[in-house]
Symmetry: C2
DNA sequence: GAAAGTGTGGTTTAATAAAACCACGGTATC
DNA sequence: GATACCGTGGTTTTATTAAACCACACTTTC
């Protein structure tokens, strides 16, 4: 993937994660406990700094109590081929 | 994540990928060209042998012409906390 | 039977995600 | 001001993904 689009995709994912976490009124540390993911990394996910694996995505979805696909439920306009 | 659930999640993902690829009547090699992903790895994804990153998931979604969340659109019963 | 396409499975390298840490400054709450 | 929680950002190690190859057996088509 072109690195620009990859970056954009990760940022979009991060926004969804951030939105869902805030909707549940969870702090980074609180979500970390629910997810079994180290708290210091969740912000990195939300900023799009990490290209996470789907296993970790599943962890986050479980902790948030949402279906995994919700974390990818963002506008995809930027993804289309040129 | 417990390794059993992780494995199950990856297998579920693989099934979605396999279903969508066949629905488009694409061979591994044909999809590989569309995705810019090496053909020899797509079957590994479909078998749940790889814990792929979301960047690669995006690649596959673009190649298949579906929204990324479609690749995670599987039953999630097995994901619930005990 | 030669050529082309296919599924399958193995290997190797470099890049990087996962995971676990830590430390700092800020903000409440007592 | 002590305690507790928070966001932030950095580091390090290990595991593994990504990516690129290859070879083989099987079909199908010419």
């Amino acid at each position: 993937m072109q690195s620009k689009k990859k970056k954009e995709a990760l940022v979009q994912f991060g926004k969804r994660l951030s939105y869902l976490r805030k909707a549940k009124k969870l702090s980074f540390r609180q979500l970390a406990v629910l997810c079994d993911v180290d708290y210091s990394n969740i912000k990195k996910f939300e900023k799009g700094e990490k290209n996470i694996t789907i296993a970790t995505l599943m962890e986050l979805a479980i902790g948030l109590g949402v279906h995994p696909k919700e974390l990818l439920n963002f506008p995809d306009d930027f993804l289309h081929r040129d």
